[in-house]
Subunit: 316 residues, 2 copies
Amino acid sequence: MSILVVGSVAFDSIETPHGRVDHVLGGAATFFSLAASYFTDVRVIGVVGEDFTDENEAVLTRRGVDTRGLEHVEGKSFHWTGSYLKNLNEAQTLKTELNVFETFAPKIPAEYADSDYLFLANIDPVLQAGVRRQMPKVKMVCGDTMNYWIHDHRENLNKVLIGLDALLINDGEAKMLAGEDNLMRAANKILSTGPKTLIIKHGEYGATAFFSEHSFGSQNGSGKPGYTSVPFRAPALPLDAVVDPTGAGDSFAGGFFGYLASQPEVTPAVFKRAMFYGGVMGSFAVEKFGTERLQQLSREEIDQRFARIREISHLD
Amino acid sequence: MSILVVGSVAFDSIETPHGRVDHVLGGAATFFSLAASYFTDVRVIGVVGEDFTDENEAVLTRRGVDTRGLEHVEGKSFHWTGSYLKNLNEAQTLKTELNVFETFAPKIPAEYADSDYLFLANIDPVLQAGVRRQMPKVKMVCGDTMNYWIHDHRENLNKVLIGLDALLINDGEAKMLAGEDNLMRAANKILSTGPKTLIIKHGEYGATAFFSEHSFGSQNGSGKPGYTSVPFRAPALPLDAVVDPTGAGDSFAGGFFGYLASQPEVTPAVFKRAMFYGGVMGSFAVEKFGTERLQQLSREEIDQRFARIREISHLD
């Protein structure tokens, strides 16, 4: 099964307690694509400038990612400059240079029309909605967003949320979206107005999925018994060095959705395993700067880490 | 098996977004005793003033807690006033009136001499060390501490830590104690200089146990194979109403240590289950103000919640 992802492909300049890097390949769609590429076929839609080299693109194509939807235009690529010196758990944005991303208008190549799954990474909800409309037949749509869209573009965002099978956001975003400080109540409020399933990411503590009665079995109207009101919490792997947290959430999304897309059916058991694979890919992403660690993993390493996360969290 | 706990028995005045209470029964030893009482025999050592009523004491004795070590002296009981209005995850102390607690000198009644386990709740490490010395034959000693002792009484604290089978502290305390921001490295540093096992409590995200080669099997020199370098992470239960977080950590400790003490042997499997029972008792504690929720639970309710925490975190 194939996943179509739309989002940012960018350069990041990052400083963390472990060092600094300048203009390394980054962007939500990049991290997502690389992480998902270990599980399923991935097709990316984004825009880059003239500074985006063949070698940059090869990072994606070497992992089998289809980059025919990566538009090359005049100008410079999106460039984010951030620091984790004060707090490894929260990026401090020093500079955002949107460049070619400012006028990004996603175009879906004809070859992508038969994509089975759709991931709407964190971009303007108007663009997310536009892509969604052009892909009416996908089996499942997941998406991300951020504080800026929640705070200043709520109406547009709401139109996207209502069509999502799963929304993936972090604690702060969930609380802001619901206007509610308790995570469980925030989750129920969000589920009552939008996505069928909500995944809240807790950074180094893992992630929790909150389900609604529409979480399973409604996509094909078969009404198969899958409803559960019990959330599912997947731990993150305690790491002795978080070199660069950039892209951890997007890598979680890639591991999560990539695994889901690789399975014949999305059952509660498959969903739970997907949460673990999300944690696995997030844990790899932060071990080196940028996308370096995600570029050359083996499925064996991935499954070893899956087993380790199981080991640290299971009674038997 | 019996646990001896030494620590504060106090009155708390608390405000949270759910309301406020004045002079309700509290204190680390109180929460610990009530939580542990559902698993094993508990004996408490503490000091209270003339404002401590028979009804206050009956809260403990109704749960079978042995209060012969609860010293009654002239003056007022320890009184803590705190607020969670700004942040439910971190108490803001408004007033600390030590009163009779200021000159607390723990005395161990003869009837307590045969206690099997010892819990040193958060008090002056000099007092913790004194109690420890008087109980040389206990099978296992666990303890707690707080920022103040870590920061200003480090040498005294170090003498306590080195004799602990398990230290239970929260994220901030662990980072401060190790002088290290990464939890895994902080844990390894703490384990290299002090306790055999370290449990770091993450509040609403659960708790992680970090083990050393001395964690299992060393207490009786049998060298049984129990060593694991793999941490164990137990989730907290997502709750839709945290009414009053006071005592959550002490209740975790009570559930954890109470369950351990109820088992014939402390194996890795038993330890993991104990972490879950810690989470169970912590989750009950915060559902009502003060100790109210811990006063009349049933073992059935406790085991139901254990099963629920298992359900939200296990793949199958």
